[in-house]
C-alpha cells in the first residue's frame, strides 16, 4: 500500500512537470503582445522595449521557462503583470471562495445523487426509476448557464427568495453568505447530478443481482440490511471514482457559473487573466487546478482502496 501511494505521488509530480511545460508553451503561443497589453494601444516602441527589457521577455524561451519553474519550486508564483501584485495571495483568496462552492456542490451531488440512484435501482423499471432518469438526463443535457439564468429568473427575480448574483464574505453574517451561495451551488449540482445518480443506479443494480445479495436474502435478513449493508456498500466503490472525475467537471463548470452569478472565484480570475494576457496569473492558476484534479483523483483511489478489503489486505491466510 505504501508503495502504491509513493508511486502515485511520483506520477502526480510527473504530470505536473509535463503540464508546466504545456502551460508555458500555450501561454507563449497566445496571440497578442504582452507589453502592448500592459501599456495600452498607444504605447510607443520605446516604451514596449523598456517593458520587455524589464520583464526579460526577449530571453530565449527555455531560459524563461527555467526562471519560472525554479521560482515555482521555491514557492514563488511570480507577480501579476496587470495588477502588479504577487500572484499567490490573489489566487489563494479566489481559490478559497471557489473551494467553498466546489465542496458544497460536491456534497450536494454526492448525497442527492446517491440517494436518487439507490431509489432508482430499488424501483427498477418502475415510475420512480423513469422519473429520476428523465430529470437527471435533463440536468446533464442542458448547459450550466441556462440553469443559472433560469434560477436567477425564477428564484431571485420572480420569487425574490435569494439574491441574484454576487458574493458576500462570511463576516457579514451566515445567512447572507449562504443565500449568495445557493444559486451557484444548485446550478453546479444540477449539471453533475445525472452522472452520479446514473452510476449509483447501475452499480446498485449490478450489486442487487450478485450472488451474495441473494445469499443475504436467503439468510432471511430484513430488506434494509440487504440493501444498505450488502449492496450499497459495494455499489459505492465505482461511484467514488466517478465523483473524483466530477471534480474535473466541476472546475469546468465553475468558470461558467462564476461568470453567470458574478461570483469572484478562481474561474472568474482565470477568465480575467486570459482576457488581459496576464501570463503569470494564467500559468499559476492552471497549474493549481491541475494539482487539485490530480490530488482529488489520488484521494478517491485511496478511499477506494480503503473501502475495498481486496486491496487493503493481501491474499490467502487459510
Amino acid at each position: 500500500m505504501l508503495v502504491y501511494i509513493l508511486k502515485r505521488i511520483v506520477y502526480i509530480f510527473c504530470i505536473l512537470a509535463v503540464m508546466s511545460v504545456l502551460i508555458f508553451a500555450i501561454t507563449q503561443a497566445l496571440p497578442g503582445n504582452v507589453a502592448r497589453m500592459i501599456l495600452g494601444e498607444f504605447a510607443t516602441v520605446d516604451q514596449i522595449q523598456a517593458i520587455e527589457e524589464k520583464l526579460r521577455l526577449n530571453d530565449p524561451l527555455p531560459l524563461q521557462y527555467w526562471r519560472w519553474v525554479s521560482a515555482l519550486l521555491t514557492g514563488d508564483l511570480g507577480d501579476s503583470l496587470v495588477m502588479e501584485r504577487p500572484v499567490a495571495p490573489l489566487i489563494s483568496l479566489s481559490l478559497q471562495r471557489s473551494a467553498i462552492l466546489a465542496f458544497m456542490s460536491l456534497f450536494c451531488v454526492a448525497s442527492i445523487g446517491i440517494t436518487l440512484g439507490v431509489i432508482a435501482a430499488v424501483k427498477h423499471n418502475r415510475a420512480p426509476d423513469y422519473g429520476i432518469s428523465f430529470f437527471s438526463y435533463l440536468g446533464i443535457s442542458v448547459p450550466e448557464f441556462f440553469w443559472g439564468i433560469l434560477i436567477i429568473l425564477f428564484f431571485a427575480r420572480y420569487l425574490g427568495w435569494i439574491p441574484a448574483t454576487g458574493y458576500v464574505p462570511l463576516s457579514e453574517g451566515f445567512g447572507t453568505w449562504l443565500s449568495h451561495l445557493i444559486a451557484p451551488v444548485a446550478t453546479l449540482t444540477l449539471t453533475l447530478l445525472a452522472n452520479i445518480s446514473r452510476m449509483t443506479r447501475s452499480s446498485m443494480l449490478e450489486e442487487l443481482g450478485t450472488n451474495y445479495v441473494t445469499a443475504a436474502r436467503a439468510k432471511g435478513l430484513p430488506e434494509r440490511v440487504v440493501l444498505f449493508r450488502h449492496a450499497l456498500r459495494n455499489a459505492l466503490l465505482p461511484t467514488i471514482t466517478v465523483l473524483a472525475v466530477g471534480v474535473g467537471w466541476l472546475f469546468g463548470g465553475i468558470v461558467v457559473v462564476e461568470t453567470v452569478f458574478a461570483y469572484p472565484g478562481m474561474g472568474r480570475m482565470l477568465l480575467f487573466a486570459i482576457e488581459h494576457r496576464d501570463l503569470p496569473l494564467i500559468q499559476a492558476g492552471i497549474l493549481i487546478i491541475t494539482a487539485i484534479y490530480s490530488l482529488s483523483n489520488l484521494s478517491a483511489d485511496l478511499l477506494y482502496a480503503y473501502l475495498n478489503p481486496r486491496i487493503r489486505y493481501g491474499r490467502t491466510i487459510a
Binding site: N211, A218, K219, G220, H230, Y313, A318
Partner: protein, 693 residues
Amino acid sequence: MTDPNNILEVNQLSLAYDTSYGSLVALDDVSFEIKKGECLGLAGESGSGKSTVARAILGLLGPEATIKKGSLMYAGADLRELSPEEQRSIRGNKISIVFQDPFTALNPSLTIGAQVAEPLIFHKGMSKSEALEKAVDLLASVGINRPREIIKAYPHQLSGGMQQRVLIATALSCDPDILILDEPTTALDVTIEAQILDLLDELCRTRQLGVLFVSHNLAVINRLCERVCILYAGRVLEYGKSSEVFSQPRHPYTKGLIASLASLGSEATNNRLTPIPGGLPDMTALPANCVFQPRCPFKESKCASEIQHLATMDDGRTVRCWKAQKEANLRWTDLPSDHGDVPQKQKASFQPSEKGFIEASNLTKTFSSEGILSELVAKLSKLHVFRDLQRSPHVKAVDGISLAIAPGEVIGLVGESGCGKSTLARCMVRLIETTSGEIFAEGKEISREPERKLKHFRQSAQIIFQNPDSSLNPRKTVGQIIKRPMVLFGLSHNAELDRRVSELLEMVRLPPAYAERYPHQLSGGEKQRVGIARALATSPKFIVCDEAISALDVSVQAAIINLLQDLKEKLNLSYLFISHDLSVVAHLSNRIAVMYRGIICEEGVVEEVLRPPFHPYTEALLSAVPRFDDKTAETTRIRLKGDVLAMAETSRGCRFHPRCPRKIGKICEEITPPVVESASGHRIACHLLTDEK
C-alpha cells in the same frame, strides 16, 4: 400421504416464468418429500428447474415467477401462504441454503465473522459479541482451524474450500430443520470436493437435518443421498432409492444419463460412451406429453399422444414413462448408437514415434507482480529496515517442465486448480511467453521466434477454450467465426470457403444451415462444437483442449467426448487435454501427466498411472473422485488436507510433502525427489520409489 416424519412436502408444484416469449413452464407437477435426518438428491441438467425448486422453497423467486399450483408444506403450514415477513423469519433460520459458487456468495467487503453472525443477530436476537462468539464455535464445527483469526478475515483471503465451509457454517448457524445444498461442490476442486462431501456426510448423520441436495453430478448424489429425484425440463421423471435408481434405472432418460458418464473402472475405459442424442429441449416450446420423447430411442407414437403420469413401480419408485414397467430391463447400450462414420474400436495401445510433434523442454513461466518500482521495492525489502514492505513478487506457475506429445497422441493433464495446467498449455502454443526453456514444434525450436515467423506453427496448433459463451464473438455468425482462421492463413477462398465451412460443420455434426446463426442462438453443446470446428478450420495437428467439456451438461459431454475421439482418429490429431475430471481424462487419453504446483509429479500411460496409482498425489486425486461404479473405493479413501493455494511455498524438498499422506520423513522435506523413468516411459518424482528399492 402425510407422514409425521416428513419435514418438507412438495406437492404437485407447478411454476411458470413470464418471459418476453410468453409464459414458460419451469416446473410441472413436481412432488417429493424430505424426511427428518434424510438426504434427498435432486438431479438434473441445466434448465431442468432444480434451482427453481430450491428458490421456491425459500420464497426467493423473483417477481416474474408465479406458482400456478401445488403446495410447499413445512411444519403444518403451506410456505406459499405465509406473509413475506413470516417467510423471511423462516429463511436462514429454519430453512437455509448453501449456494454453488462460494466466492460469489460471500460479500467481499464484510468480514467472515460478520457474515456468519448475521442470521444469529436477526433471527435469534443475539448481541453482536454473542453472535461472533457463536460464529467461532460454528466455524470450528465445520473444520476450520484458527476460527478466531478467520472471523476477522475477508472472503478473498480464504481458499474456495474454506469459503464453502464458511457458508455451510452460516447455513447451520440457527440450527435449521432443512438444509438446501445447491450444487455445493461444483465450483471446487476434486480434492476439496471430497473434503466438503465428507463434512456434509458427517453433518447429515450427526444433526437431525433434512437435506435437499441439488446437483447435476449423479456420482456425488449417489455418494450422499438415500433417495433421488431425477428432474428433466421441470418434470420429475424418476423418483426412488438412489441405490435402485442408479443400478437399475427405469426411465430412458436416467438410463441415458448413466450410460453417458465416463467411468474410471478399467473395463469401461475402452468403450465408447453412449450419449443421449440431441440437446436439452427449448423450454418455451416443449414437446407434448412426454418431454423426453424427441431424444428417446425407445419412443413410440403413444409417447406423444398420451399424457404421461408418474406411475409407481413394483419396487416402490415412481417413473414417468408408460413403458417403464413393461420394458424395465431394456438397456440403453442395447440400442444402435450414433457411432457415425467411425467404426467402434478399442483404444489402440499407443506406440509413440521417435519424435514428438510438440515438445517442451525445461519450461519455466514466472509471473512477476508488476513494474520497475515494485521490483525496486522487492530488492529494498531484502534489507532489514524495509522488511515490512516485503511481499512475494514472483510466482512460478510452471517450473522446469518437460513434456512431449507425439502425433496422434492424447495427453491428459490433471491437477488441482492453480497448479499451472492452463499456463503450461498456453506456453506450449505460445499464447503467453515463457520465462525460460525451449519449445520444439516438429523438431524446430520456436520459443524465441518472433510472431511473424510463427505463421506455420499458429496454423498447426490450436486451442479450444472452456467457456464457449465467451470464446465466440457474439456479433459474428457461426460461418464467419469458422471462416476467420482460414482467411487469416489464406487457406481457402471464395466459394471454397463456404464449402469448407459446411464440411467442418458436418465434421462436428452440426447442420450446414447453422453457418447463418449467431452464437446466442445455439445451445451450450452446439457452441462448443462451433469452437471445435473453428479450431479444426486450419487443419491443425495439435489442439489444446483447456477444460473444453467442463461447462457442458452430462448428456451433451459424452457426445463431445466421442466427437473429439473420432476426429482424433480420423485426422491423426494430438491433444493436450486439460480437465479436472479424472474419469474423462482417463477415458480419452493415451498418457496422463499429473501436475502439482508447477511441476509434473507423475507421467505415463493411463493404465500405469491410474491402475494402481503410485505417486501419493495421484492416489489422492483418484480416491477423491466420487465413484459411481465402484463402492469399494469409498472405504479406502485418502483425504488431502488443506488446499494448494493456501500452502506456503516450499523452497526445499518435495513440493507435495506438507500434504502427503505417505511422507517418509526428513528426506521429503529436504531433497527434491529425482524424476525416475521406467523402461515403459513412466516417469515418477517421489522418494517412495527409491525407498522401495
